[in-house]
Symmetry: C2
Subunit: 1007 residues, 2 copies
């Protein structure tokens, strides 16, 4: 670095050192100023100090990096030459504003110091030049207050109190106001303000122990350092943590010549958007204050006018601004958020950035940008004729400015997500919310929900049945709680992360869920919860906000979501563009229907175990428990026989809902202990004894009746130190083949029953947790034996697939061998992440934040349970994809872990060539969109020539795996070239139209 580094970038008079795409270096504000200057918009001159300088400053222990001061002085001199004014000059003083600006908008940092350059001498010069002594001293008192409070930590209240006192007493007296009446800010006259400046100087000196600096360069230095320091303020750090902002090195500092919106009625200031940010309508939208400075808009002291008013007040300025709107939106091809100031009838642009918008607006803007002109032809002509708008820009503005692909790329996952969940009513005031806030957990499923607190699943169910909205509050949840979870409007847990049991289950239902609220203390014994110093009882009400993770006392009004019609337009475009299919993880007919409604093209994961917990049919769980408690095969088989009709019925429902779409059914996965009340729940165990013995009586069974001791002993036997790595998944079927047999029978019989009723069924039977080709071979052979026998007996022509989940590193490493016996693989990346990283998702909440927190260790960019860890887990996925295809080139590959609904992970899935992603029903729209975005981005890369290799896309880890990647990713391409469909493959294709289509499309793309 050292002296050669450029720390400062100038802009002014139509030229700029920086560019709009240098946000990381210049910050968003700095890049916008530079770009606006470049494209000829009226921007006051100035210069930007880089974010690198901020990083260097903080690294050097709050010292300016070498050379920076010199560069600032040089740029300041250039600015002074440009506007023919001098900082601190007693006659014609240059005033500047100093603003922070990082690459991402970030409240919490020091924002602005205006009027810098004023001192006891230059204030007179300003008075002279502006013709208003009052104006000059008003500017000076503002500077002392802003500089004192934001740069030097003097209490802002002290300044405000002094001003208030002036207005209440002296000004009010002068104006002859009555007792209790207060004069307005603007009522104070020049003398009063001049005296106020002296008072402010005293407050300043008392507050920070030094006099207000009269040397304007000292002011500038102080302001710049204060901006740098503010990057490391706790509130800024916290904001970055909360918003998961990583990869930034600091804030830029923008020093800009002051322009004044408060020099009279031909002055003003405002903010505007190139389109309506809440509806997305194609109108010019904004707020305006006449005779005011920018901070007055922000402070909300005066009620602003609508932007249209400007049309009447200053029609030329309005037209100019309208032209700026068009120029910037055409230039950036995105809705812009602008700040401007009018000084004595002259327009200055102070900021432009991509504008934030409501989810509804996001869709409408994208669709309208891609289908409608920004500007009507008549309006365009007028602006061109006035020379406010170049002809070329006008031509562009009267046509759609982006493509459909651009529109698809424009939509964020959060835009989609927020369309589907109820939210807190925006009419509830911030102070109301603040007073109700009890604390904060991890927002696991967005949306909001309020209701009565229930501390047990049973209570939740009971209260819900009597029609009450319930919030289930638990330390953590387990499959036993599923009934109560389903009955609840929202779920709050003290432990767990975004992929804990509670989060995963709730997400499947789109149910508001806040997890990992470490401060939450639940006293089950007394049925109370304590949080944020408040203790609530069961039956009291709370409201959860599932995006922020906040918990509020009492009920807060919610409003339902509304999807705009443009949502459907975008999704239709996306569906046409994407290569990958999107399936849903759904366990019930209701969820399956929901998934289809949201656009799912199949079920990628149907978890059979959830079916056992249906609270409306407790016999299911009882039979399951009977099976677990059986200590010999005949008893176990008898219990399984009792379960068979339930399972078959469930599958029939799901198959019916998924007519003509594939359904992947996973065989029993969790460890058996999850189905029994544990040793800390003796009442639960006693209840189970009664239920089972009743069931045995009803069945007239000759088996021994069970006792509490039997359960206790079995629970003890089933206890595991690490159940995640224990006796579960297909290991259960190795030990108890009869479980597999029952489940396969239920699936196949259900499929045949449906087929006979005219439903087209495509069942895919999935073996969980396999780690070995021999193990998998044994289980698949058994599956086929059972299935084929039934098919033969029923004289059916049912086709079905058998495959496995790849959810352990060993399975990924042996995928080539496992592909020999398997029709398909589905990547279970939740468990694969847990095992690859030795990271329990239920326990990681305690320390994973330290890993993801950028300002602590910053080890991971994302929570690996939310976004696939491309380096580790992703490498295993890639190995498995490449090598399994080398064994069986057409093997069907998909993903059914939580990552299947995460856009960045979906892009990875596309890059490794998966055929589909599967996610919870409510994330299906996100997945459809993200998948289309992945296709579009992949095509945007330089096309692979025939014979060349398919390059790894954005998320991948090319550096580590160059040779493998090249060699292997090329393989499927070669394959599709050679492929002359055999009779057999044609038949297969008939049964699986999707696979064929995909192959074709891939062929088209790679050729």
């Amino acid at each position: 670095m050292a002296t050669a580094t450029r720390w400062v970038y100038y802009f002014g008079n139509g030229k700029a050192d920086g560019k709009g795409d240098q946000k990381l270096l210049l910050g968003g504000k700095g890049a916008g100023l530079a770009e606006m200057t470049r494209i000829g918009l009226p921007v006051p001159g100035g210069f930007t100090i880089t974010t690198d300088a901020c990083e260097a400053y903080n690294k050097r222990g709050q010292k300016w990096p070498t050379g920076m001061e010199k560069q600032i002085k040089a740029n300041l001199a250039k600015l002074e030459r440009g506007c023919k004014k001098k900082l601190g000059n007693a006659k014609n003083p240059l005033l500047v504003s100093v603003r922070s600006g990082a690459a991402q908008s970030m409240p919490g940092m020091m924002e602005t110091i205006l009027n810098l350059g004023l001192n006891d001498k230059s204030v007179e010069g300003l008075a002279n030049v502006s013709g208003s002594r009052r104006f000059a001293f008003d500017a000076y008192r503002r500077l002392i207050m802003m500089y004192g409070s934001t740069a030097k930590g003097v209490d802002r209240m002290l300044f405000e109190e002094a001003f208030d006192e002036l207005k209440e007493v002296r000004t009010a007296q002068r104006l002859g106001l009555g007792a209790g009446e207060t004069a307005a800010d603007t009522d104070a006259n020049a003398e009063e303000l001049a005296d106020l400046v002296e008072t402010f100087k005293t407050i300043y000196r008392d507050g920070c122990g030094e006099a207000f600096p009269q040397d304007p360069f000292q002011q500038l230095k102080g302001a710049i350092s204060a901006v740098f320091d503010s990057w490391m303020l706790d509130k800024a750090i916290t904001y970055r943590q909360v918003e998961n902002i990583t990869g930034l090195n600091g804030t830029g500092v923008n020093i800009c010549q002051m322009v004044f919106g408060n020099m009279g009625d031909d002055c003003g200031t405002g903010v505007c958007f190139t389109r309506d940010p809440s509806t997305g309508e194609t109108v010019f939208y904004g707020d305006l204050l006449i005779n005011a400075q920018g901070e007055d808009v922000v402070a909300g002291v005066r009620t602003p006018l609508k932007l249209e008013e400007l049309k009447k007040l200053m029609p030329e300025v309005y037209q100019q601004l309208e032209a700026v709107r068009v120029i910037l939106e055409v230039h950036y091809k995105e809705m812009q958020d602008l700040e401007f100031t009018i000084e004595r009838g002259k327009l200055y642009m102070l900021q432009c950035r991509t504008g934030k918008r409501s989810p509804q607006a996001a869709f409408r803007i994208a669709v309208e940008q891609a289908t409608k002109p920004l500007l009507k032809t008549a309006a365009a002509k007028k602006l061109v004729s006035k020379k406010y708008l170049p002809k070329k820009t006008a031509d562009l503005a009267t046509k759609p400015i982006i493509t459909k692909d651009d529109a698809i790329l424009r939509i964020q996952a959060a835009d989609v997500e927020r369309l589907f969940y109820p939210v807190l009513d925006s009419n509830v005031t911030a102070s109301e919310l603040a007073s109700r806030e009890m604390g904060e957990g991890i927002g696991a499923v967005p949306g909001a929900a309020g209701g009565e607190i229930a501390f047990s699943a049973e209570r939740a169910e009971a209260r819900a049945q009597s029609g009450v909205d319930v919030i289930l509050v638990r330390k953590e949840t387990s499959p036993e709680d599923v009934g109560g979870m389903h009955a609840s409007a929202g779920i709050l847990t003290a432990t767990g992360g975004k992929t804990s049991h509670a989060a995963v289950v709730a997400r499947g239902w789109g149910k508001c869920c806040v997890v990992g609220c470490g401060a939450l203390d639940i006293d089950y014994a007394n049925n109370t919860m304590t949080l944020g110093g408040k203790t609530l009882n069961e039956g009291d009400t709370i409201t959860l906000e599932g995006s922020s993770g906040k918990i509020y006392e009492g009920l807060i009004d919610l409003v339902p979501p509304v999807a705009p019609k443009e949502y459907e337009t975008i999704m239709t475009w996306a569906d046409k563009r994407r290569r990958m299919k999107v399936r849903a993880n759904a366990d019930t007919p209701v969820d399956a229907l929901k998934a289809v409604e949201l656009g799912a093209q199949g079920i990628g994961l149907c978890r059979t175990e959830h079916m056992f917990f249906d609270p409306s049919q407790p016999q299911r769980l009882t039979s399951m428990r009977r099976m677990i408690l059986a200590d010999n095969e005949p008893d176990r088989r008898a219990a399984l026989d009792a379960l068979l009709p339930y399972q078959r019925e469930d599958f029939e429902g799901i198959f019916a809902a998924m007519h003509n779409l594939p359904v992947t059914v996973r065989l029993l996965d969790p460890p058996l202990h999850e189905f029994l009340p544990q040793s800390d729940n003796p009442e639960g165990q006693r209840a189970v004894v009664d239920q089972i013995n009743e069931a045995l009586d009803d069945a007239g069974s000759s088996s021994d009746r069970i006792t509490v001791e039997d359960i206790a002993r079995r629970v003890e036997q089933l206890h595991e130190s690490n159940p995640m790595l224990g006796h579960r998944g297909c290991r259960l079927c190795i030990t108890y083949p009869e479980i597999l047999e029952m489940q396969v029978r239920a699936i196949i019989e259900a499929a045949i029953n449906c087929t006979e009723r005219g439903t087209k069924v495509l069942p895919e039977i999935m073996i969980p947790l396999s780690i070995d080709d021999k193990e998998l071979g044994i289980l698949i052979e058994r599956t086929r034996a059972v299935a084929n026998a039934i098919i033969k007996e029923r004289k059916s022509r049912l086709k079905y697939l058998v495959g496995t989940m790849i959810e352990t590193p060993r399975a990924a490493l042996l995928a080539d061998r496992m592909a020999n016996v398997s029709d398909f693989f589905s990547f279970g990346t939740n468990d694969l992440t847990q095992t690859t990283m030795a990271l329990s998702r239920d326990d990681a909440g305690r320390f994973l934040p330290d890993y993801v927190d950028a300002d602590h260790a910053g080890i991971f960019k994302h929570d690996p349970f939310q976004t696939l860890d491309a380096d580790g887990v992703g490498r295993l996925v890639r190995i498995a994809c490449d090598e399994s295809r080398s064994t069986k080139r057409n093997i069907k590959l998909g993903i059914c872990g939580e990552h299947g609904g995460d856009p960045e992970s979906i892009q990875f899935c596309d890059a490794v060539g998966l055929e589909y992603v599967s996610c919870s029903p409510l994330r299906v729209p996100i997945a459809r969109l993200a998948s289309a975005q992945a296709t579009i981005r992949a095509e945007a890369k330089p096309k692979a020539k025939p014979g060349a290799t398919l390059k790894v896309r954005s998320m991948s880890k090319a550096s580590v795996l160059p040779k493998r990647t090249k060699r292997k990713v090329a393989a499927p391409k070669k394959t599709s070239k050679k492929a002359k469909p055999s009779a057999k493959r044609k038949a297969a294709a008939k049964g699986k139209p999707t696979a064929r289509k995909t192959a074709k499309r891939k062929l088209a793309r790679t050729r």
Copy 2:
């Protein structure tokens, strides 16, 4: 397969279809018969039915494979032609024996049917030919009994009772014996035996519902099928399970012309060994019965003569047999176990196989074979002159017959292991043992131990202190129990496998340990244990046998082990040959000294957490607990300060013991909850409160005193669903950097203290459980900062290394990046196996046996916690080795998982080029030997030419990874070629002479 398959292999008249190396196909017996025939030894003619035939038979549902009967008939005809007799012929009948024979000796299968071919007619022919009607009918009655009982399931007792009755009544009467006196077998005369045959036929018919077959081919078919069936008998399956015999497909069947050792005093039969199998002495050793059949030797009815007697009785036969001894040992280069029969003065060899031997004999035989002649020159001359021995064989026999390398390869891990543990006194009779046996668990650490039962660690310690031998009996053990475990003579647990906590800790100490005894029921409340129907109280005695896993009631006499002097010889040879170094896993100075004594060249894993449990210094654990309970950094630091002197003292002890040898110290690894009494132990929690508060009082601490609620809350907070994947390892140091700082300080200060006293210390600081290069970088940087500050302050010149354990899949996959910041890697293959396979070693005991059991699922060849899973875990190790070397070519690589002491895994470690293996001290000799064996085997492979690639050795997975392997394994070679030692590397080499030497040797080998 079908008709073309050869199911039958003939041997006879000096020619054989099969060979000695076809054990897998022909079984051990069949291969031996073929080979002896080939080399010209006198073997009766016959043929062998292959093990493939057995497999085909069992696969086809107990049907003979196509073509087998035809082939048997053809070979039978050939045999008949060869000996000029016919099966079942009434004049000159051929009799045959039918014997099973798998590739490995396997009691439990049907063994032998003799005299097959006799029927009512041919028995007369035999009488004629043999000249003895008595002999013929004796043979016939034997056939009916053997065929009936072994092939047809008729109760053998019924036959024996009938014979006994005959002898007691009729024969006794005829001989005029007194009441209560019984005649001998040989007393029964021809008539009596002829009548007995009729009685036997009746018993046979009554027993199996059909007449004894008179068709000799039907007898033959029945006998062959019976042998095949016996492969699947429960007892055979159980034996294979228990002995971990896998990879065999069935048993062979040997049909051999009968020769008779019971036709008079010029006949006999015997078994002999080419050397003494219990001492290893170079003498001809065996047992002999005159006028007897082989089964009489086995049955132990008569007391056999010593083999030397034959020298007097039949000197020529003896000399012939002596020549056979020499021919076979020279041929096989191994001590042989022989069976022979003498028929009317003519010697026939019936079996030869490599002989089982005591561990002492194994060493002596190997050394003597490699250094001394088998035969003195005079004796050789005599045998040559008699033409019993070819001159060439005599020449070979008068010189050492194997090389030192052969001798090294000859020793098995079990031979070494059994040298070091006390064993049950062989004077205790089998029946005594049987009556005392209560049950069986998994033998985790060999040797035997007896003592008083203690059900708690406290009780074990207390009783041990009063001088009593104690066996600690627990459901499972935890680090809390370590004190009691150490105090005990042996450990028995109800749960866990060979790598459970109990097993691992006990193995480290070489302490007898039996785990996973599922049938063991412990009632802690009443202090009783129930096993095998017996209930014992605390204070009662039991004896454990740690090889078989058997548990005996009461105390059984033990004898201490004795290592022969040849042990030292072999180890010296091995040390000269091996490429890899051998280190030990040791946590205390005592263990460290033991390790050095056993030949360890350093410590590869010193676990710091075990130090906290030293029962003689309870303050350690108290300080640790104080640290865990601290809820702020100052309190935590105060507790750590209290721990510092203890840790420093420990390290000083270990460094002193390991003068001039490297010591790898692993920082704190286990989750913190392991240090606190859990919620089921409130008394324990109360005791901890008192201890900590006392310590705080003693230290005059101003910190708050703790309460039982504090502990309970912390325990609750620390509870994890899957602690294996939880907050442990280096994750603790990310959260609490002060733990790392204290430990690094202790290590470095200890090292400097030792250095100042003249001890040469080579500390290697190891970070556990890292999963990311950034995470590791942060911790290594912190480590270096602390260490370097101390070194600077103390003006020391201490050199140290910092590295990490590779024990998660992600670490292996990111090894290239982690190598950038790390001086060394040590593979922690225990945890790597757990995570790669999603297999908890503490829980897998419940289902892993189903996976390893060849006759159930047979999924894994070995328990993956004992022998490294080359396909999955091994592939990750290979990836990490190859790719880390590509980043840092000289990175030090070792292994410290349990696999470091397993011979097959050691061979893998050699193949991937690790610098050292580290294992528990008592396995160091095995590792030294196995490492030498790996070197020898690697050299025996075709040498890699310069530029060619190093081939993957035995255990590897070449088929899956050919390209990677070739490309990557070649890398270090290229490296060593290029390497011109820089000044820096020279200096490093000075500090690490071992690393240099290894590199040189590797260079020499690969060029």
